[in-house]
Assembly symmetry: C2
Homo-oligomer: 528 residues x 2
């Protein structure tokens, strides 16, 4: 039997395989055509050897060429859009429209184009010049980057096309993509277009490489190999922590986006003012895409009272009324069921009615627990339920709500809803500073789903949401800096400096920190 | 017996001790007065409890007040200079002048003053505003910072006054200082002045706390405690790696400055042009301060030839002629002897004559090995010898020199000496890109000792020089960002935003990235 080829060192070639797998249509439970290899370590080893060549080559490539690659890749994705959407739909059961065709694919190409612009402009690297001491620094490419894509975004976070990919390439590094096994066909198509764009703009052929799946021990070896620069991983906490342990041991940077339950605090004033609207927003956010988002609102903190009961009642109806879509895989459905069981075993009460669901689906589920009880089992009651499931924590009073917030683990986001008239202001002042410390992004009157590609975005947060609270996976320029090492040049002769650190501004647009001032101007050594 | 008091929660109090120690005068081998406690975990626990209160308080303190604290602390150090220098001299045997009084102490107060200016100005936090989407972000205080100071800089890297301390405080965090056991008296004096300044400007009393010494298990607990924000450690590789393992496991940021041998490549043209001068520079750098610098040039790469033999011969004379000063401790001297033995056992030849040395000293030592042999034992031959010891690696040809560089571990610095006429240019072009990847700071025609406090500095580098190649321990503004978490504000109401993210510029001087432009201006929401 022939497996689908991997992309290594500029060639679509047979994998050195230690097994194989195929994708499944989650809507039917039926296998999809195409058998994909589980790569042996030898594939990773070859990819690493080629990647260090590519990394060396990329260090001498003008930023314009990297920008052109990213732009051409985006254009190629657009040109193959129909086929990509169809394949991704088959492999994930996510709706072709609007989700895949009108939201996720445009987001993906936009990210690539923004990354292209950032690569060309160069300010992301914080070029810094101390003219008096002639010491200069810049964030420079870190070396080959391994990108492990997640199951839930076949385009926008794909290892071969998503946000981490775009950031790593824009920062000047080659990528070794580890596709997610649930959508190998989509990943292959994206890698094909990436590689075609590589060829077209004449970058080193190993700038983009692809394996579909590797065993955990090969993953640990990959992220800790001497030749790797850094790793980006989006996925489960257990998978992320295993890779982190391997990378940390040898000081290799690894950026993880793991679990998050994204607490939403809804204050009484907001419920009194617009309870039904907030309930609708919450249900919409939690039910969106089967709840399979890293920023799904999985925990709601409410204060006991009549408007809270009304909110719960409206939300319950919305959850019961909505038809749950097929989840990304039978494993996702199974794991979701287990999480709900864990929450119930820890004392949460399931308040939505049991319902029969179609194959591959899981009932939309609301659970409820008192603040007092939450504080008895804070760890178990923060079990991530990846799907349309949320736990409502009803606190007796403000002090209990504060305690609940103080017991939260690190999360990507935290939202607070309050009224427009100022009644909630004292409560906000008490709760927001506590919530702020536990999350990467704080929202007002807004649900956390929807992670805009904005320079002000933080798609990151304290552990265990990620591995380090200083970095974001989304948002340019900051996301690029994850894939860079700080390089200082001390008394280095002018002709030997990288272009971005010479006296003249290399493109007239790059922002540089010269003697404490951010400027797009050059600096004339002789005039000082 | 009464031990010296620790500083916890705003009080100089008796430690909960599990032992005690005293300082030793390295020049005489005699114990110095004062018995200091080894703190039990209970001291760390209390310090952490107080530190989270301080962290909360500091979040509401205007930057001006933090700036004033740092300035007042610097002034108080200046006022107590004579006593501090005397004490540090007794505890370290480092020369009172110029080293302690004229170099290290002014550097320390300058750092504090630069940190004060950075805190007041606020640009270090990279405030970012996306006006279209109303998403804003800033690097915000990360929480209590534990600072482990090293043995070799009683002032400038002291846990209670040095670069990490200044950066952590300027970023808005309280510090729990872990002094170095070799100079507890100096550390106590510094902490006294820090605490007096805290009181004077009315900061939370637990803004600065001090323990002198803790057992390794307490250290691991401290850096991984839920209440800690981040840790900065400067010291040995084994100590750093143990703390790193504990912190990594729970996703707590830890910044380590561990071992570095700081390779210096000297090209034939430079030797032909100014060999004796380069030899003098090298010997001066390696012999400075008994070689007890993180940036001591411990490895020199040379190409075989007559000028190289001349260089070696001059250097050898300089090493033999110079009187070795007492080292920081008997342990440092013992460990240095062991490192030299490891290098010799691995095949390096000791080329300086054996010499009798005074108590607490170690002979200045040059070792030599061929490039060919180095490549057989690259790991052992990179053993750090913390002192006036350097290994000369003589490569047969350029290819061998390239291979030697490719086998280097991560280092803080790498230097290349070349001629002024251009003869070395082709060699530089071959070797510099390789060396660049292994080091944090690349130097031309300059020895690595002397780490200027410059915005362009990188006192960092790839593992095992540090734990992450993206961060620097020296140089403002970048060093401050180690102690910050990225905070994004999405749709947050204007009056609830931190001052630095509101439309108006809070001080008219802060640089903010607004819609892709760095500016010191405000932004008028209504005018758009």
């Amino acid at each position: 039997m022939t497996f689908q080829p991997v992309l290594i060192a500029g060639q679509w070639r047979d994998a050195e395989s230690v097994g194989s797998f195929h994708a499944v249509n989650p809507a039917t439970g039926q296998p999809l055509p195409g058998e994909y290899p589980v790569s042996a370590w030898a594939d990773c080893d070859r990819a690493l050897a080629a990647a260090i060549q590519a990394a060396e080559s990329l260090r001498h490539v003008p930023p314009e060429q990297i920008g052109r690659f990213l732009d051409r890749f985006a254009e190629r994705i657009d040109a193959r859009k129909a086929e990509l959407v169809e394949q991704a739909h088959r492999e994930t059961a996510l709706p072709s429209s609007p989700r895949l065709a009108d939201v996720e694919l445009p987001r993906t190409t936009n990210q690539l184009r923004e990354a292209a612009a950032a690569a060309r402009e160069g300010s992301w690297a914080l070029p810094t010049i101390d003219t008096k001491l002639n010491i200069r620094s810049i964030m420079a490419p870190i070396g080959p980057v391994a990108v492990f894509g997640p199951n839930n975004f076949p385009f926008a976070f794909n290892g071969a096309a998503g946000g981490d990919f775009a950031a790593a390439i824009a920062a000047g590094n080659p990528v070794i993509a580890k596709g997610h096994p649930l959508h190998p066909g989509t990943t292959r198509m994206l890698a094909e277009e990436a590689f075609n764009a590589v060829t077209e703009v004449n970058l080193h052929p190993a700038t983009v490489q692809l394996v579909y799946r590797i065993k955990p021990d090969a993953g640990s070896r990959l992220v800790s190999d001497r030749r790797i620069g850094a790793t980006a991983f989006t996925g489960s906490r257990s998978g992320g922590l295993a890779l982190k342990a391997a990378a940390d041991k040898v000081g290799k940077p690894i950026y993880l986006e793991m679990s998050s339950i994204n607490p939403v605090v809804i204050l009484p004033g907001a419920l009194g003012e617009r309870g039904p609207k907030v309930a609708e927003e919450f249900a919409g956010s939690c039910l969106l895409g089967g709840g399979q988002f890293c920023t799904n609102p999985g925990l709601v903190i409410l204060l006991a009272g009549e408007t809270t009961e009304q909110f719960i009642s409206i939300t319950k109806q919305a959850f019961e009324k909505a038809t749950p879509p097929p989840l990304l895989s039978a494993d996702v459905a199974r794991s979701l069921g287990e999480s709900v069981r864990t929450l119930r075993d820890a004392g949460a009460e399931l308040i939505t009615a049991a319902s029969d669901v179609a194959i591959g689906c899981h009932p939309n589920s609301l659970l409820r627990v008192s603040g007092e009880h939450f504080l008895k089992e804070p760890e178990k009651l923060q079990t991530e339920a990846f799907g349309s499931v949320s736990l409502l924590v009803v606190a007796r009073d403000v002090a209990e709500a504060e305690a609940v917030i103080d017991h939260l683990e690190g999360n990507l986001t935290g939202s607070i809803y309050s009224d427009g008239g100022g009644k909630d202001e004292p409560l906000y002042a008490k709760l927001a500073p506590r919530l702020r410390q536990q999350v990467g992004r704080l929202l007002n009157d807004k649900m956390p789903t929807g992670v805009a590609v904005s320079p002000g975005m933080n798609h990151g947060g304290p552990f265990p949401a990620t591995g380090h609270p200083g970095f974001t996976a989304v948002g340019i320029p900051a996301s690029l800096r994850r894939f860079a090492a700080l390089h200082s040049y001390d008394n280095v002769r002018p002709n030997r400096l990288p272009a971005a650190l010479r006296d003249e501004n290399p493109n007239g647009r790059m922002w540089r920190l010269i003697d404490g001032e951010w400027t797009q101007r050059g600096y004339n050594r002789t005039s000082l």
